[in-house]
């Protein structure tokens, strides 16, 4: 691979940046993941409040966006091993609150790294993690934290996240590819955040998002989810609570 082919760019650098980023999101996430209300209500804040923490990777040969990265600064006043169970949803809201209140941030959190399906398995994820670390370093933060989504856990929905994060490959690195990318870049696993993202919908919505049917109450395995979802027919409600893993990059 030509080393100069892929360049890290900022939102201002590229026309229609958000449309192109949306295209990656739609192509790399299962539909239900696009229905987390905290993400949907606050996504614009990433660009309105924290533009310097957003970036993408441009394929200069084709002028296509190959990957995107989102992160936020926030103020953490507890030890790293007390990072909350609310993971992703929590840190997103905390960053916005801190910004509204004029609180000076002391740490950065990853929100997302997504690689366009056409560009996966080419080592771009490691470059994206490195670029995110570089932002944190430029801001003078000592740590970059990440509520990491171990995406291969979707094949192991009946295994607890606490067990899953202990699985290792032949080299002694994490079994999960995304956990491994962060570990290779120097990050350590802190602990799981069991309620990193909560997605609720009516039965009809879940049927539309997953193309499955949910005729009775109970747990269901759905494609792309890290845990089963719970369907309550009487309340016309389905709930998915996604576990992630807090990882810390010490800079």
């Amino acid at each position: 691979m030509n080393e100069t082919r892929f360049q890290i760019i900022t939102p201002k650098y590229l026309e229609h940046y958000q449309d192109r980023a949306d295209e990656i999101a739609v192509n790399s996430w299962h539909e239900f993941m696009l229905h987390d209300p905290i993400a949907n209500e606050n996504w614009h804040d990433l660009f309105d409040r924290f533009e310097e923490y957003q970036f993408a990777m441009l394929d200069t040969e084709t002028n296509r966006m190959a990957a995107m990265g989102n992160s936020v600064p926030f103020f953490l006043d507890q030890p790293l091993d007390e990072l909350p169970e609310g993971g992703w949803d929590w840190v997103f809201l905390k960053a916005i609150d801190d910004h509204k209140n004029g609180v000076t941030p002391n740490i950065q959190s990853a929100i997302q790294i997504a690689i366009h399906p056409d560009y996966q398995s080419q080592g771009l994820s490691a470059k994206m993690v490195k670029a995110m670390r570089a932002i944190a370093e430029s801001k003078g933060f000592k740590n970059l934290v990440a509520p990491v989504r171990p995406s291969q856990k979707s094949k192991y929905p009946l295994i607890s996240i606490d067990d899953y994060i202990k699985w290792t490959n032949d080299e002694g690195l994490p079994f999960d590819a995304w956990l491994r990318v962060h570990a290779r870049a120097g990050a350590k696993i802190v602990k799981p955040c069991h309620e990193a993202m909560t997605i609720r919908g009516s039965r009809a919505e879940w049927e539309e998002w997953t193309e499955l049917k949910f005729p009775q109450s109970g747990e269901y395995v759905i494609p792309g989810a890290l845990n089963p979802i719970e369907m309550h027919v009487e309340q016309d409600k389905g709930v998915y609570i996604e576990p992630n893993v807090w990882m810390v990059h010490t800079l």
Binding site: Y156, P157, L158, W167, F175, L212, Y220, P228
Partner: protein, 252 residues
């Protein structure tokens, strides 16, 4: 599609097309299903022992096998609701044993229906299902029973089979496509057979069959299985027990 496009092979032709027929069957089931020891040890019996009971459909334009149904006769003197929990595995062993002992057979069991990928949605699974009728009639059997594999349950591995078979679509017909085809062809549910097929293997074998890893003991969802399977790391063993549904078709 015209009826002249397809014809059923006779027992001599069956053996001429044997490799092609086995290949088509293999493509219809996930790899792990072929490691059910009853299937492994007895598949050849469809050709060697029960040649008169096989429905293999040839596309006469391409001379290609496009759909197939395997059935075999056995003896059953008790009420149908007493058919065993071990459904598929049991009926194949029973049929072989009855044939060896020369027992007088009085009922037909269909144990496999497969359709070539390019021919799916052509109604050929129904054609195969109906082809068991003349087979049973020739032998003066009054009933055809089938330990049915409701294929779409693979999307619902956490739902019990007992619940799943009661699911209906908007028209009040069975939710599952294959159960629905059987229903429309006159089939009626007798009961669930919870241990219809049993597949055992070492951890390494299961990893090879599924392309997954099993680092710890516990239940796992594996692609194309109707229920979770269970891994026991200490015993180096994985077990999958497949539930099926006993269905009955009257012979017209």
């Amino acid at each position: 599609m015209t009826s002249a496009q397809f014809r059923i092979l006779d027992p001599v032709e069956l053996n001429l097309h044997r490799d092609e027929i086995i290949q088509l069957a293999r493509e219809s089931w996930p790899e792990f299903m072929w490691h059910d020891t009853v299937a492994e040890e007895n598949w050849h019996e469809f050709f060697d022992r029960f040649g008169d009971y096989q429905s293999v459909l040839l596309d006469v334009r391409t001379n290609q096998v496009v759909a197939l149904g395997h059935s075999l006769p056995f003896r059953w003197d008790r009420p149908l609701p007493e058919l065993p929990e071990e459904g598929w595995d049991w009926v194949i062993q029973q049929a072989v044993q009855d044939d060896k002992s020369g027992a007088e057979r009085n009922i037909l069991a269909a144990v496999f229906v497969g359709v070539r990928e390019e021919y799916k949605k052509s109604g050929l699974s129904r054609t195969i299902l109906l082809s068991f009728q003349p087979t049973a009639r020739t032998h003066r059997f009054e009933n055809l029973v089938i330990p049915v594999r409701p294929n779409e349950k693979l999307n619902y591995p956490l739902t019990s089979m007992d619940d799943y078979i009661n699911w209906k679509n908007e028209n009040g017909l069975p939710f599952d496509l294959w159960l629905r085809i059987q229903h429309r062809a006159g089939g009626r549910v007798i009961k669930v057979c919870h241990k219809s097929k049993t597949v055992r293997g070492t951890r390494a074998e299961w990893e090879e069959w599924t392309g997954m890893k099993f680092p710890q003991s516990g239940e796992y969802i594996i692609p194309d299985a109707l229920n979770p399977m269970e891994i026991n790391v200490e015993r180096d063993e994985g077990v999958y027990i497949e539930p099926n549904v006993w269905m009955q078709h009257s012979i017209a």
